[in-house]
């Protein structure tokens, strides 16, 4: 849904740009093409490797880690698994539900969902390329901590 909105927005902006100035539009599209190629090269290989990791690591393993007797430990595992994997949300939410049904803690699922998108080992090299090592290390560590904190506070309310 948002993707369609983004495409409409991009098309509208492009139209506006063409009307205003052809030269600037060409300039803009050249920048976009360069960014597209370099981002694709950076991301494609990483995604293929993540796909392989997901194929090797079956959902049963994730279920076991998130459904242990010790909630605190499961939460930590949840955050850890979320950190090392990336999943499209269309896979992540149904998986979370099946994890819950088969006995995983909601708190652990919350930690898993938050680190899944906000902290990334897989996207780490891509982030370093844009923002440098220091920024990337600190941002990911803080996000990991924040995800644990959010999950633990959620434990009080749920």
């Amino acid at each position: 849904m948002t993707i369609i909105l983004m495409i409409i927005l991009a098309a509208g902006f492009l139209l506006f740009s063409i009307i205003k100035s052809k030269k600037k539009t060409v300039e803009g599209l050249r920048i976009a093409r360069k960014m597209l190629i370099s981002t694709f090269i950076e991301v494609a290989g990483v995604m293929a490797i993540v796909g392989l990791v997901l194929a090797v690591l079956p959902p049963e393993v994730i279920k076991q880690a998130l459904g242990g007797a010790n909630t605190a430990l499961s939460t930590f595992f949840g955050a850890l698994i979320g950190t090392v994997t990336i999943m499209p949300a269309v896979i992540a939410f149904p998986l979370s539900k099946s994890l819950y049904v088969s006995g995983a803690h909601l708190v652990a699922i919350a930690a898993f969902l938050t680190t899944l998108t906000m902290v990334g080992v897989a996207t780490f090299p891509i982030e370093v390329k844009h923002f440098g090592t220091k920024f990337t290390v600190i941002r990911n560590s803080l996000s990991f901590g924040a995800a644990l904190l959010i999950a633990l506070v959620m434990g009080i309310f749920l």
Partner: protein, 223 residues
């Protein structure tokens, strides 16, 4: 040659790994291909519009406007704007990197950079609906209410921990002139390195870079 290998190292590694699994474990190979197909589809849908918008903004929106709206003096309004930009945008976090980088180079503050990246990753309006459907409305709302202040806090914290000069992309580690290093080619050169040489030779000025154009001295130039 070495540069090419470095540039494509993940793709090369992926091809080698996939080849191994193809011969040893076909079931894993095909499962992996399926996941990767999903990733690629997502990427092909998301990246073109996001990058076209980013590039057109780079060309049209002057640095002063971005500095005013998202710079270090923008205060709470800038933070809320960043939160909005992140949560209405589509796509996974890697799509956010080039977009947020452009805004940062044009004057957005470190805290707003972090807020855009984090909210881009976690807060997604349609995803909230999916989360509600599969988990529960209570779960979704509590997670959202806790996530927003956590993101704002992280932004403020990062602003204290990281200096603007700490943030530099891989290519400009030893650059004297701070260039965007997007290698957009709009200046007529193939990459920012060549453009820098031209500036040092006085063939070009920094005004010829679309990213630095009209940027004030603090954000753009440190010659």
């Amino acid at each position: 040659m070495r540069n090419i290998i470095k540039k494509f190292k993940f793709i090369i590694a992926a091809v080698v790994l996939y080849a191994c699994f193809f011969f040893l474990r076909q079931d894993i190979f095909w499962a992996a291909v399926n996941y990767t197909k999903d990733f690629m589809l997502e990427m092909l849908q998301v990246l073109p519009p996001v990058l076209v918008i980013t590039a057109l903004m780079a060309v049209w929106v002057p640095a002063e406007a971005i500095k005013k709206g998202l710079g270090s003096a923008s205060g709470l309004r800038g933070k809320l704007l960043s939160l909005l930009i992140g949560s209405v945008s589509a796509g996974p976090i890697y799509a956010a990197f080039p977009a947020a980088y452009m805004l940062f180079k044009k004057g957005a503050s470190v805290s707003n950079l972090v807020i855009i990246l984090s909210s881009w990753a976690v807060i997604k309006v349609p995803m909230l609906l999916v989360e509600m459907k599969f988990l529960s409305i209570r779960f979704m709302i509590i997670r959202l209410i806790l996530t927003v202040p956590a993101i704002l806090l992280m932004g403020v914290l990062m602003e204290r921990l990281i200096k603007r000069s700490n943030i530099q992309s891989a290519d400009d580690k030893d650059a004297i002139i701070e260039l965007p290093n997007i290698n957009c080619g709009a200046c007529g050169y193939n990459n920012c390195k060549d453009f820098k040489k031209a500036v040092l030779n006085k063939d070009k000025t920094l005004e010829d870079c679309v990213f630095l154009k009209k940027a004030d001295n603090r954000t753009g130039v440190t010659v």
